[in-house]
């Protein structure tokens, strides 16, 4: 029995690594550039690597660099980091429905690895997800983020221009690839993505709010509104 359990933990972890591979590729240009920018902002190699190791949140780390460069106090930078990353609250709550039950310690450990990308990969998987799978996805994504951050600082350059530009599609292409299988099967998924994408676009393009808030607001409205429409139709006997 124990042998079987150990085998399934191992293969779940391996499946996680495989599923996280596209994140690892997508993080390369983003992390290299972060390392490079950190260097020009005046962070040492170890400060740069330490930030990537402990924070592991791309958007917030980028914004912190421009705030450091402008000489703003660290309290403001920390507060701003909090605002940008509040959206993970929503992802963590959603992931809780998706994950198998586990001890607090294990959940507290993999909670650290939640990013837009790892969340998307784990949450769009069929059925329940195991902690081993989550660890696999997060470990390969984390490794790519930390190593390439250091490499960007060390080399002091990012990829050749054309490759850097072409690879900027990677994470978006991954999101499309993750969404499509469910979208093909379900009109509900189509409406969820369409409504959130439209609201997010209008909030951002009109300059109403910054990226962090726009994602939270558009996601909440879409997830609630689509669910409300479905339950009203169900009550009216339409479905």
């Amino acid at each position: 029995m124990q042998q079987i359990a150990a085998d399934s933990v191992q293969s779940e972890f391996r499946r996680g690594i495989q599923a996280g591979m596209s994140i690892a590729v997508g993080y390369v240009p983003v992390a290299l550039t972060f390392g490079l920018l950190a260097k020009t902002t005046g962070l040492s190699l170890w400060e740069t690597i330490l930030m990537s190791m402990l924070v592991f949140a791309g958007a917030a780390q980028y914004i912190s660099l421009s705030l450091i460069a402008s000489g703003i106090g660290i309290g403001v930078i920390i507060f701003n980091t909090f605002i940008v990353n509040i959206r993970h609250f929503l992802m963590s709550a959603s992931l809780n429905e998706k994950m198998e039950s586990d001890s607090m310690g294990i959940k507290a450990l993999y909670a650290f690895g939640i990013t837009d990308e790892t969340f998307s990969v784990i949450a769009t998987r069929n059925g329940k997800s195991s902690a081993s799978f989550a660890f696999g996805v997060m470990l390969i994504a984390y490794g790519s983020w930390v190593v390439n951050t250091g490499a960007g600082h060390l080399i002091g350059a990012s990829l050749p221009d054309f490759l850097q530009a072409a690879m900027s599609i990677a994470l978006y292409a991954m999101f499309v690839g993750l969404l499509m299988p469910s979208l093909k099967k379900s009109a509900k998924v189509f409406y969820l993505a369409l409504v959130a994408g439209s609201i997010n676009s209008s909030l951002l393009l009109s300059g109403t709010m910054g990226t962090g808030w726009a994602i939270i607001v558009s996601t909440i409205i879409s997830a609630a509104a689509v669910e409300a429409v479905i339950s009203i139709r169900r009550k009216a006997g339409l479905q």
């Binding site: 709550a93 909670a111 690839g177």
Partner: protein, 102 residues
Amino acid sequence: MNLNMLLLIAGMAAVTYIPRVLPLTILEGKELPPFVQSFLSNIPYAVLGALIFPGILLIKEGDIWFGLVGAFAAFALALAGANVMIVVIGSIIVLSGYLAIF
């Protein structure tokens, strides 16, 4: 290492970890009302919509065609049933080609 920088990194790490860890640990083993459960299971697809749009169209400043071509490649490959890694690599190749031509 500069002490101020260490403090900053520690602070950023703490405020980033808090929203990540709270729901997963507090809600463990709790049965939420059905509407809230459905709402939470809708989140991934809504988030993906918001992560894709408008970002995918704006990847190259001042060149909307770059984003459109990339988006088209990604959606076409995904619609054709390619796995995620192929969608990623295929889109990169298409955009490299676009850059080589224009």
